[in-house]
Amino acid sequence: MATNSAGVEYEAVSEPYVETENSVDNRKDVSDRLLKIHNVTSNRFWQFAALTGLMFALGIIGFILKVASGFDDKDVWGYYVAVFAFLMTTTAAAPMVAIAPRIANAHWRRPISRAAELWTVAGCLNLVLYIPLIWLLPSLENGRRSLWFYGQQASKDQFWTGFESVPAYSPHIWATLAIVSLVVLGLALVWLSCLPDFAVLRDQGTGWRQKWGRRLSLGWIGTTRQWNWQYHRMGIVSAFYFMMLIFVHFFISVEFLMVHVPGWIDSLYPITHAHNALQAGVATMMLTIFCLRQFGGYKDYIGLDQFWGLGKLLLALSLLWFWFWFSSFNLFWYAKKPSELSLLELLISGPYKIMFIAEFLLVFIIPWFSMIWNPVRRSVWGPAVIAVSVLLGTLLDRIRLYVASWDAASRDFVSMLEMEMHEVPEKIVTPAIADIFLIVGFIGGSIFIFMLASRLIPVMNIWEQKEFLLYKAEAQYHRAKVLVLGKPR
């Protein structure tokens, strides 16, 4: 026990911060050790990869079946869009776990940032999934409500009638642009952050890894100038990725959800959608680092600190989830506008009630009431289990919303022009075999791609680890040794 002059007590740190079997401070050792782990590929890995590959194959079959079924009746496509949205909220959001703490200079991110960025590779799948949707997206010509204000039904004396010059297919154009650029930015992000590590592969790697390392490292030799550029570029690309992510969710939530349900005017929803994504992204990362720690051999590098950090994030996010949900639900329920009541029935109290309750439990109750305990946050299994529940909940959420609204859109009693649903579909849309294929397949597919990518790209960010060694020191404080962390400005 030590007490500083201000009187605050301090426990001394008995061990260095990075907990490895035999603690090292040497940067070379770090890269060596990490490369070693990176280079070996266990059989278990290949078995699992094969499994996911198989799932992926199923997914492709489902995909073909869907496309074959044609684009006319929307309700068939509900599950398809749900899968698309789900991947958008998990794989596309995971990189935020690397970006956000990096901006905030949080050191605990270092061991997991690469894994987070790596998920962007799976973004290619989202792009593939998106292509058929271009044909499904209703055009503005039938006067549907839209972000692009192609307001045929709006009265002429309104100040924004100028917007009527918006082409009828602008949603399609914007959607494509947004999603393509998101994927591109993601790939750029992961490549950029890999440059120094590729250089390490080039210098210390062997075989094909070395070859690719040479190709991809773009002559990185680690001059000061290169490092400065590195920081700048990463900052810019991350910022853009973040903004694009928000935009894409804003976009999806409107063009793929609201336009299909008359009277669904919920200005908070894009935020909720994006927020769900962050939550699911964190959960994804929890699961990822859990696997990396348990099966990936990174036990020494992925400490409880990471789970703790993510746990705290998830705690806050799940509370936010409730708040967002309540903010809109409360208003709909309180005001009792028919249009909004029918909306509530469609999404919450109606046929999809069970799904909603399950989701409520999985996404809010379970995470919140377990994460509130520090012991759970600071464990390895706790966060992993909760991550599964959150991911499950998110999947349910996506299915509930998208299937329900696409079902509603396909009904004849609903016209795009109306502000109110007079009837609500009375029963749930049961998934076809192709839908199940899709769900299983594309989730598996993303994992598959992630795993393959992780063979070339180190899932542990070598240079950030090394950099960290610079920023931590141990200080003597009175009788205690304490850890001092530097925060570069």
Binding site: Y334, A335, K336, K337, P338, S339, L341, M419, E420
Partner: protein
């Protein structure tokens, strides 16, 4: 009130009969002790008229029309003004009326903002009458002090009195009785206003509502509720105006 539980008061307003003569307005003022609206009250936009005639223009000279619609408290079944009152000054009574408890009201004016029909009025000033004019004040109706909300009550004092006297004399107050009808209804020279009990199928309003709402949208079904899309479940049914001017441009 033995039988009051199963009564639901409502009104049917036939806009096609209304000539905008303001008879209802004055009748209401005299029945409900509404303070004299002096010139300054109008200028401050604080004049109080529990029932008002709204006049809407259509077209330009020479093909011009003025449309009149009497608007009073719609006695919503699902009233936006009720849940927001912090002190229960406005509540839904067992006869489907939206009643205002003056002595509870503290004047937050929350309800007035909630009302999409703007039929709630606030006493910005202490109401004043010359001594002699006070002789006219209706003893059945409270004189509202300043700082509180007031609004059309479907002349609840008449409903109460006639019910009470009905019980006393053991007679049922029958439908369309002038003793129970609000002042505006009795006054209206063109019988544009009809008042009655929606829960009693045989009452005139029920039948008019039935007939009017039965085939909504069609030409013969003239019934509609004001701003119905808000889901206020108003207890005032309006019957559409019929426009048969040559070359009428409006209408559905």
């Amino acid at each position: 009130m033995a039988d009051s539980q199963d009564r639901k008061w409502g009104m049917v307003v036939d806009i096609d009969r209304c000539t905008g003569c303001n008879g209802c307005v004055v009748a209401c003022q005299s029945e409900n002790n509404i303070p004299n609206n002096l010139e300054e009250h109008f200028n401050q936009r604080r004049a109080i008229q529990w029932i008002r005639i709204e006049r809407y223009w259509e077209g330009e000279y020479p093909n011009v029309k003025a449309r009149f619609i009497p608007v009073m408290c719609q006695q919503c079944g699902n009233a936006p003004c009720e849940p927001v009152c912090p002190v229960y000054a406005t509540y839904h009574n067992e006869e489907g009326l939206n009643v205002q408890v003056y002595n509870r009201c503290i004047g937050t004016r929350f309800c007035a903002n909630g009302c999409p029909y703007h039929v709630r009025f606030f006493n910005f000033w202490e109401p004043e009458w010359p001594e002699s004019l006070k002789n006219q004040l209706n003893p059945d109706v409270t004189v509202r002090s300043r700082g509180i909300m007031e609004k059309c009550s479907f002349c609840v004092q008449r409903i109460r009195r006639s019910t009470r006297e009905g019980e006393r004399d053991e007679v049922q107050v029958e439908d369309g009785d002038r003793a129970i009808s609000p002042a505006c209804v009795n006054a209206c020279p063109t019988t544009a206003l009809t008042f009655g009990d929606f829960n009693n199928e045989s009452s005139q309003v029920s039948m008019m509502k039935e007939e009017a709402m039965a085939n909504r949208g069609k030409k013969e079904g003239r019934g509609y509720r004001l701003l119905d899309n808000l889901g206020t479940e108003a207890n005032v049914i309006y019957l559409k105006k019929v426009d048969n001017s040559a070359g009428a441009v409006h209408g559905h």
